[in-house]
């Protein structure tokens, strides 16, 4: 007998086609061939019968229905969740407030440090210690400064301030 593809060529091969046959999924050549084999082999016919019967038997297992309060129960759970929503948001808000407060404290601390460490127009304590020797002679230096300013005003050229400033640069 000629072997053909996509068509069962034996009883064993036909068994692989039975589900598709029962579901009407086979094309015409395959369906005709399966029906031919079924007619000639009663065991195939029985297979088809049990395939259908076992599938139909699944209907016996009826699913339970939901309880009458099902919808109310779902909505109650939903409201519980929504009720917990604001609590979650409150928790989040508290965390946000805490973070903001921490940031504010940090900013104030940094600002305070800057203000205290570099007060405008004043000398820091560290600078005072470092320049203690100068401070001890502050009055003398201020007097000298006054004298120098006076002399400069009187005659810059005479004292040679141009050359001195030039060297300083």
């Amino acid at each position: 007998m000629e072997q053909r593809e996509n068509v069962p060529n034996s009883v064993e091969e036909a068994r692989d086609y039975l589900v598709a046959y029962v579901d009407g999924e086979l094309d015409e050549p395959a369906r005709t061939r399966v029906e031919d084999l079924i007619r000639r082999h009663p065991e195939l016919e029985e297979d088809v019968a049990f395939l259908r019967a076992s599938w139909d038997a699944l209907d016996v297992d009826e699913a339970p229905r939901t309880s009458p309060a099902f919808v109310d129960d779902v909505l109650a759970r939903l409201r519980d969740e929504n009720g917990s929503g604001p609590r979650v948001r409150m928790f989040s808000s508290r965390r946000g407030i805490t973070a903001l407060a921490a940031a504010a404290v940090l900013i104030l601390a940094v600002a305070g440090f800057l203000v205290l460490s570099e007060p405008a127009g004043e000398i820091s304590e560290a600078e005072l210690v470092a320049n203690m020797e100068l401070l001890e002679d502050l009055e003398l230096l201020e007097a000298m400064s006054d004298d120098l300013e006076l002399l400069a005003v009187l005659d810059d050229d005479l004292l040679g301030f141009d050359d001195w400033e030039g060297e300083a640069r």
């Binding site: 049990f50 076992s54 599938w55 038997a57 297992d61 699913a63 339970p64 229905r65 939901t66 939903l78």
Partner: protein
């Protein structure tokens, strides 16, 4: 034109997305028994199944913001249902609570004798046979591999076409055909002896 264009469930779900609780209640009312029908094939304990069915709808509500009407609503709903059911079954804690046939037998045995129906009546005989068959069907379906079982539940019990099953399970149609074919052969192999016995009796 899409298959979901005339699906009024999609319209309801879009209202749910906008925060409409009444629309959500309507969706739950419409689909609760179908969801229960799927879930109860995985969790045989009724209380557990109902709890999970409620969880399915809560997941629908929680997912409302990301819902896109790209398919029929039932496709989306059944995908959530199947995924949650499989997760529940795979969970060890829940697995312990899945009602086994042994537990069913124990429950039956614990019934009082006077509560049992008269075994001599013909209707009782038929009911007993039906109960036995139902128990056997549950055992057979429970024994299927997860993917075969899901395909069977959707195709057989929900009437989903191969195309819908493929969309829900994220498989090709040919893969679904293969799954269902193997599942049906498994079911046939395991139920046939029982059906033969019933036929003889």
């Amino acid at each position: 034109m899409h298959a979901y264009d005339n699906d009024d469930n999609v319209e309801l779900m879009l209202r749910v997305r906008g925060g409409d609780e009444a629309a959500f209640a309507e969706l739950v009312e419409r689909h609760r028994d179908r969801v229960m029908s799927i879930v109860s094939r995985y969790l045989r304990d009724r209380t557990e199944a109902e709890d999970l069915a409620q969880e399915v709808f809560l997941n629908v509500y929680r997912s409302r913001a990301t819902y896109r009407p790209e398919a029929r609503f039932s496709t989306w709903l059944f995908r959530i249902t199947a995924n949650l059911s499989l997760n529940a079954v795979r969970s060890r804690a829940v697995r312990k609570k899945v009602q086994s046939l042994t537990n069913s037998d124990a429950d039956d045995a614990s019934r009082r004798v006077e509560d049992l129906p008269d075994p001599r009546s013909e209707s009782t005989q038929l009911a007993l046979e039906k109960n036995e068959l139902a128990a056997e069907v549950r055992r057979v379906v429970d024994a299927l591999p997860d993917n075969q079982k899901t395909a069977v539940v959707l195709n057989k019990y929900q009437g989903c076409s191969y195309e819908e099953v493929a969309e829900i399970m994220d498989l090709s149609i040919s893969a679904v055909k293969s799954l269902l074919s193997r599942a049906r052969m498994n079911i046939k192999e395991r139920l046939t002896p029982f059906l033969q016995n019933q036929r003889v009796s």
